[in-house]
Symmetry: C2
Subunit: 259 residues, 2 copies
DNA sequence: GTTTGTGAACAGTTTCACAGCT
DNA sequence: AGCTGTGAAACTGTTCACAAAC
């Protein structure tokens, strides 16, 4: 998923489709790996396989960037790496702050892929005074009091929130007030931000729940639904309904997963 | 987002749209909060605001589950909590293993929201023998050798991979061979899995790159942007020449392949 | 009067299949 | 021959707007 509220009204007459943007990093990673193995060119078929998509989609995606391939040959790896990097804005350096240096914040700070491409951890910030000064991933943790000055002094426009849910909105507000316009939120909360600020969220429990949904489908084709449905407070059981009303709490029994 | 799911022709004639499934956990979280405040009913408008979506979408989403609201009134909170939980498969318990107990794995193990709803950490697994037996989040870390027996003994069908990228595919293969059919992958790699296995991935650096894309765009379109554009690493000389050969945003220049 | 549930219109995304370049 | 680039078709997802239910 993506941006919280406040997304441009898809006024994308001149832009790249959002779905394509979301795949460019994937292509870039695959291309970087090829580049490191000194592979000079790659076909849409090969690159698509490496990125885990199909080749028609990949070609369509690239067509939004320009005609960067050569018919009968494929794509030049180095050239594509550069073009995609530029398109994603990775030819410049993005200072990032991480707020909330608990288990997760520390993990993020230590994450190598962070610095590797365009991003630089400008500061680690935590509300706990006991954390202040302690080094994490080679950086001293700074106290929340310094948040605003850190942001302005470093020209930070991207913030990562790894605090408990209860603190997230407040931290978000302060980040935004200080000038941050893109936020990556790991806290399990819906953040509200003013127009013009992008929010992306990463949420473990949502991902697990989506997996559970599909898992249940796989298992439950014949194994029934457990338990009974508690009666509905305001309404009557509509379970009867021979026609029309296609829904109902009972099994949906779709023909899914053909072996 | 981003199921790396194996290509299924979406045989879902009678199922719930994927986009809807992905939002159900969001609704559930908002409803749970209302439930804890003993709010008895909620309108689509209110609930939508709490979940960060618009009300038409929410009503459409719920319509796939059934007619669970009351016109003129709204939705009964407790009843909806139950229905969504059941739909997501959270009325049963899902044992989960986490493989790779580094910074991130430990963070995940400690994540409270894990156990809170339907999920239970059955085991923490790491390849480092020095880790074996050490308690993390109250559980002793087990060695990778035990992976298969842990999976089968506990009937684990959901696995979380938090290993380095290099180990992820191998771990994935072992998980799948042992019976896991849903995987949440935190390693920055494309996993390949057999038909019938679901993969979802969470990738920090992809999220950041997407943010950078939009951030760059903000800086470009309107005026402003307080400098904050440090050095450029190894930008190619052609940078000034415009985007590419096609009808890009600006000048059209014949394709230039780098030597 | 209020609010749901939903067909219909619209928008975005993926896939197909092939023309056109190398 | 091989492979890209892209219109058109097919599909999925979102928004609109209003009749039906309370």
């Amino acid at each position: 998923m993506a941006t919280g509220r406040t997304h441009r009204p898809a006024t994308r007459s001149r832009g790249i489709p959002e779905a394509t943007v979301a795949r460019l990093p994937l292509y870039l990673r695959a291309l970087t790996a090829l580049s490191e193995r000194s592979v000079p060119t790659v076909s849409s078929e090969e690159l698509a396989a490496a990125a885990g998509v199909n080749s028609a989609k990949l070609r369509k995606d690239f067509s939004y960037l320009g005609s960067y391939g050569t018919r009968g040959v494929g794509y030049d790896v180095e050239y594509l790496v550069y073009q995609i990097s530029r398109e994603l804005g990775l030819t410049q350096d993005w200072p990032v702050v991480i707020v909330g240096i608990g288990n997760l914040g520390a993990a993020l700070a230590n994450y190598g892929g962070f610095a590797s491409r365009g991003f630089r951890v400008a500061a680690l910030i935590d509300a706990d005074p006991a954390m202040a000064g302690k080094p994490v991933a080679g950086l001293p943790v700074r106290h929340t009091d310094e948040l605003e000055s850190i942001i302005t002094d470093n020209g930070v426009s991207i913030g990562v929130i790894a605090t408990p849910a209860g603190a997230a909105q407040q931290v978000c507000d302060r980040l935004v007030a200080a000038g941050v316009t893109s936020i990556l939120n790991f806290a399990p909360t819906v953040l509200s931000v003013p127009e013009g600020v992008d929010v992306r969220k990463v949420d473990l429990s949502i991902e697990l729940q989506i997996l559970a949904f599909h898992e249940q489908r796989k298992a439950g084709e014949e194994t029934t639904q457990p338990a009974a449905t508690p009666s509905r407070p305001g309404a009557h059981a509509r379970a009867a309904a021979g026609a029309g009303s296609r829904k109902g709490p009972d099994g949906d029994v779709p023909a899914v997963m053909p072996a």
